[in-house]
Symmetry: D2
């Protein structure tokens, strides 16, 4: 890229998973709505057609009158082609297909175990990790070869272990993982503040300190222009035993909604505010608490997202894509609320700022393992992401967090070593797991079998089991 | 004490809980059966009569022909009197009465929660800690004042938090906690070795490396004269899916027996050998695993020790004591297998050796919190206990251990501060806890109420709850 | 203070050392030149008259047409009066008089030891610490009592140990130490960049990463809008063996000037750039290197600042002050280039930013002791200063830095405990010290004697020496 | 080896540097004087003849009537042959010849820098490290290939970096470094005790706690049967300002003697007792203190060992060897006082004990870098060496120790990477170094040139310098 007059030209972004009908579109819009950068986005996807469609859609957007910058979109047919010359690399892939995700999420139901998302921790998270980590190994090696100086932004789940894999394979990589879950808590805090004071705080104005692992982060400080908002939040939690009173949406129909009943219950338990949404939080604690079955979920005012729903949702998006490509539906620019473009601009030297991010722990959280990927705030400036010191997680909460951090370190290590026996230890160590050892093993073996097409070391494991 | 010719004379031992009908008698026997030390034992107990009975019994033992050393026993009526001039202090007390212990162990049954011992962790362990820690505060302050240079050996449960309290109140104290649970695992290993090889290894010859917290320690290395025995133990675990084949005792009738079925199940889960007995191990993991109810316990071949049984056992011991005092039953010397006398002799400069011990973590276990009391091997020499480096607990196991270590640190801190609200966080953080927040609170409040006579800050808590 | 419309009104600043003729004036000017805050500055000084003069001068400034905000200055006669109600506390005091400083700096010359500044480390720094730490103890206790929630900015040397004392005495204090030495290095880098590229970078646009202790910080990364400037700086160092070619001032006449010859020599030794000025740097390394005598100093193109010069400088300032108060010389506003006002504004919630700061190490520099005061960048936002992770100091340099960090921790501990025997260990451990033990002791005892009026535990020390 | 009846037969020891006329002979004697083990010693040396001579001598010893065990000695012509089947590997080599050592020790005299030993730190230690580390790399790789399960004992200097190299190249190696310097301090303490009390303590009965790096270890606790001897040592130091009064030997004629004047001076400085002999201690602190020149050494009652003396000593030993081989001088058994045979016996499972040892820091010294080789006590038992927790070195001393620890870590890293530019940083960071940068570089380059025959990366360095 070249810089002049406070702007960056000829920026090159490689988008791995460039056929994405969600995240890729958000990024396109955001790029056009920011005037600081212009350049080219190389879309790479194993589904060439999906990437080509996105290129067509992106180039149509470039014709829109409300765009603030110029971007060209090209479909590429190899990682090498996409990555060569890249200033930034974005990774948002679906590991395997929704059929495998169906195994992740629903197979454990045969054993009485339910999951709300199933892509981060729990049986679904572990099995998904086993097939995603090898993909990230390939990507990390390609980045090392073709664009070692590019900044890499990962959006893929399981966020923590995917990002950790990038660093495990290519330790000098300039990478971080990015997730919007925290923003919802900032919005909740802003809502509470505005309601109680008549103020006009916005999400980005709520300064928080956060620590934890992705989808299980915690907020111990929240301020608006220096005013401590935690007492106000505690009062709010006491006043709303049923959960967030701002949510009037019918969460039953909304697969991704909740009213923060779990967030506030955890707040009452520990005195710190869980930062992710309820659908994620419930997966990190013993399943009995909030996720025993559909009834328990309903009691806590959220829904267990089914993969059938995801399949239907995808079909809708494919249909819409065809219309956008054909021009029967017009393209349009809409701000996503995501931070990706701001982060890239900061890294391009166009303005520094602080936001939350997933990177290896170098001490920003002194009581989680060094090297494990953690989520805290970081300072973004020209070519530099530097974590802010977040402090120690309170012990009462940390036993919940460190357990996952250990498991995540272990699953990356085992998967890279092709050690599915070691991975089974992670499987049984998850707080969702309530089965006796033999039942847990049976379920594990079945889930591996069902997703074996994406498990490079499956045969090796079967052999070792049969010895 | 004075030393000459490799022996120590005029040794003074203060025994707090000196009316004990179990541990105190073991120590008496062991003292007489060792020829290295002689002196006086000052017995202090809030039950003066029990201490006086033990003094009588001890002095009778001093008349036995098979004794190897001279010991005089005196009953003392105050901590000051007992401690002044002491070289060693032994603490083995029953905090409160079996009525309170009945609340600890059996009250949670109203909520469907069963416990096998109930004196270390779980609801019973937390409530017991709340009343025991203040007692240890008094003892630590008395030691600081009357015998600051004495070596202090604690046998009281909850071992970890009691020992931790001594150091919290008097940081320069020379203290350690002592427990025999590990010996059973050394015996099991010796049995396996002898059976498989025709050898004659004894318990003390089995060199182990161990780490963890009391009643939840783990062995990752075991050798006999340099030979690695862990592969043999793994083979043994595989061959004995039902548990330890050496145990022919009818565990159903034995309140303190088990056949290591849980120990071996955990071994199969994690690849390291749990060192305590099954009755303790089952309390440190989610209750679903091994301790859901009496049936589950029976399936795993152990029994949930009832306090009714303890009360009967005590009555038997009281009766026997009267006979011993009256002379209708003769006193006798019998080696207990405990390490207390060997430890004292080493500290007196009469021979150094290595044994397991509970002391604050200064890095012997790098992945448990510094300062928390942990159990590892230590080197005992003249006036010195120095931990051996034990190494990091494998991550897959450590999430189980560190959770308790966090809780134990927290319960000490909260109890010393009179913060029963903070202690409730520990109560709900225990892996045995499966109740929703409101049910857990109800049970906690009831258990506090039932044991309030021994809770110095109970009224303060009630007031804060009623605000 | 009250906030509205992005501004803060009724801000109250307590200035301890408010008679200062240097730092206090800089702050006054900077306050008037910033439009974000207005309020009152309470000037406290043991020299009441000096504080009163500054109040007069400040209030005159308030009449100037180019001021951007309103400030009122009042002289206060006690810490209590100054601190009560304060939002911010600024500390810039001269500990004792220039007579004591003359002992600090020049007494060691009798033993062949020269010093360039003598207020941070070395014999002068240690003796100065012994009399300054007790003053900061008094200040910290007053802040704890009268303004525990105020933000405290320290400018006094020895910066590190003064700031450390604040935290040692009042651990919850919201304090940091502030020093401009680093800015000079940012300016040097900007100069090099602009010269080599024809660019227009300013000091504040040079992003650096820094670590170390005050007056001995190091820069391992420097960027301008994301461009790595370290290779350019290395080339510059190679091309300028005699030091900084930008400095055309006659450093011989300038007591506070240098041409960075030492900075660049250290750069060539270690590959990281020392951030303070040469007059400070030379005091942190063995005196042989750069500060053996006046000739050595001249060779390295800087001067050893004499206290005689400081006395004359003070006399000039006193004279000027009288003129300003009398109105025979007009007051004027002039930006100082310091960061104090920006820091206060950020803490008031009026805009967050990153700057360098001295605060206790919580892990921002993992290879310096936890708790020791270190200098790194930190993120300033509403009511919050949060260090950025700076990383480990390269080992080759850290042996120089950690030595001082150890000494600084020790001198604070010893001085607060009145242990001048322990302080002597620090005295002989300083890298400037080349004397044999007995000579070092003689010099130490003499310097203590000469400054005994300000040493609260002097008599105690003399007694222990005479035993 | 095979074990039976508390003895080990067919033990195989590989001795690398097996032509040694000092250490190898000590070990031979010690082996024959211990009845617990018997077997074969394979002697390997690049000087085949010297190894053959030692084999002859060893086999002659086997005929002596006072031997307690049977040992066979064989000369081997390759590392592979020596190592294959080894239970133990002993390494005691002279890296290069005394000509190179002459450069190490005496070349710096041209620049006014004198050294007492010159084989551990300082200019001599660094240059020696540069040629020794590559030799240890070869040895470590051979051990990894031919005897990965053998226990490896290193006696070669620089002890710390040689031992560190073994672990750097083969992390799973079972190795430790062994040095007798500490024993002298135990003897001194025993002497003081016996003199003051009329007691009969022996060296091995003095329990000490020690920490540091080899040749620069410190004792903070010393006890005899539990009695604290440190106050007695302090009194002794005060009473003997000229040094150890027990030493009546004429140290001027004894190249390896001293009277502990430096040891006691350091004790007075820091309150902890330096454990190595004065000839080593003086090399670890600024050279001005005790080693400025021959006069300074004389004043401190020790001599700077010249390499000319070593050459003469070697000639004497060669002559004696020929006589022993020819039978003109009879062989004899004499206990060396070294611990090697006891250590091997313990590792063979024949009795556990505690002694001091050099191994990587896993936390036994919490304020030295993890992984760096440090010296503390360790517990030797069957197939296991486990460090005792030694504790943090007092800060006042640690700045001296950690500096060397950093340098040692760096020199190993740089040498293995062939980075002599990086090694120069270590060269100038040594406390003996007083030269300006250009003079230091000149001396470094000359010393490299003079020893280039043993420096594998010399040409690479010259090229980079000439660029």
């Amino acid at each position: 890229m070249e810089k002049a007059n406070g702007k960056a030209k000829n920026v090159r972004i490689a988008y791995i998973g460039g056929g994405s009908r969600g995240w890729a579109r958000y990024l396109m819009s955001d790029l056009f709505l920011d005037d600081r950068m212009s350049g080219t986005v190389a879309l790479y996807d194993i589904d060439f057609e999906a990437a080509r469609d996105n290129a067509v859609i992106g180039n149509k957007m470039n014709e829109l009158p409300d765009k603030k910058s110029d971007w060209k979109f090209v479909m590429t047919e190899s990682l090498q082609e996409a990555l060569t010359g890249a200033d930034f690399v974005v990774i948002s892939i679906l590991p395997a297909t929704f059929d495998e995700m169906e195994v992740d999420v629903h197979w454990p139901e045969k054993y009485g175990m339910y999951q709300s998302v199933g892509d981060t921790v729990g049986p679904g998270g572990v099995i998904r990790a086993l097939r995603t980590i090898p993909m990230f190994k390939v990507i990390a090696e390609a980045i090392k070869e073709y664009s070692p100086n590019a900044w890499v932004i990962n959006y893929t789940n399981p966020m923590t272990v995917c990002t950790r894999t990038l660093f495990a394979v290519f330790p000098e990589i300039k990478a971080f993982g990015c997730c919007h879950e925290v923003f919802g808590t900032q919005e909740l805090i802003a809502n509470v503040y505005n309601t109680k004071t008549g103020g006009h705080a916005t999400r980005r104005e709520i300064d928080i300190n956060l620590f934890g692992v992705n989808h299980f982060t915690w907020v111990n400080e929240a301020r608006y222009k220096g005013e401590d908002l935690m007492p106000m939040m505690w009062q709010y939690a006491m006043e709303n035993p049923e959960g967030d009173s701002f949510k009037t949406l019918n969460w039953m129909n909304k697969m991704f909604q909740s009213n923060s009943a779990i967030k506030l219950d955890l707040f009452k338990r520990y005195g710190v505010l869980a930062a992710a949404g309820d659908r994620h939080l419930c997966e990190f604690v013993p399943a009995d608490w909030y996720m025993k079955d559909h009834e328990t979920a309903a009691k806590w005012k959220y829904a267990l997202t089914s993969v059938a729903w995801r399949k239907q949702d995808k079909a809708d998006r494919v249909k819409e894509t065809k219309e956008l490509v054909a021009g029967t539906k017009p393209v349009a620019l809409k701000a996503s609320g995501e931070e990706g473009v701001n982060q890239m601009a900061a890294l391009a030297g166009l303005g520094s700022y602080v936001t939350n991010v997933n990177i290896p722990n170098c001490g920003q959280i002194p009581n989680l393992p060094l090297g494990a990927v953690v989520e805290t705030n970081a300072y973004f400036s020209g070519d530099c992401v530097r974590p802010l010191y977040a402090g120690a997680i309170p012990d009462a909460v940390n036993h919940l967090v460190i357990r996952h951090s250990y498991n995540q370190e272990e699953i990356v290590k085992c998967t890279l070593a092709g050690d599915y026996e070691g991975a089974f230890k992670v499987f049984i160590n998850d707080p969702q797991m309530r089965l006796p050892l033999d039942q847990a093993r049976k379920m594990y073996d079945e889930m591996l079998y069902e997703t074996r097409a994406y498990l490079p070391d499956y045969e090796k494991y079967v052999k070792s089991r049969n010895k």
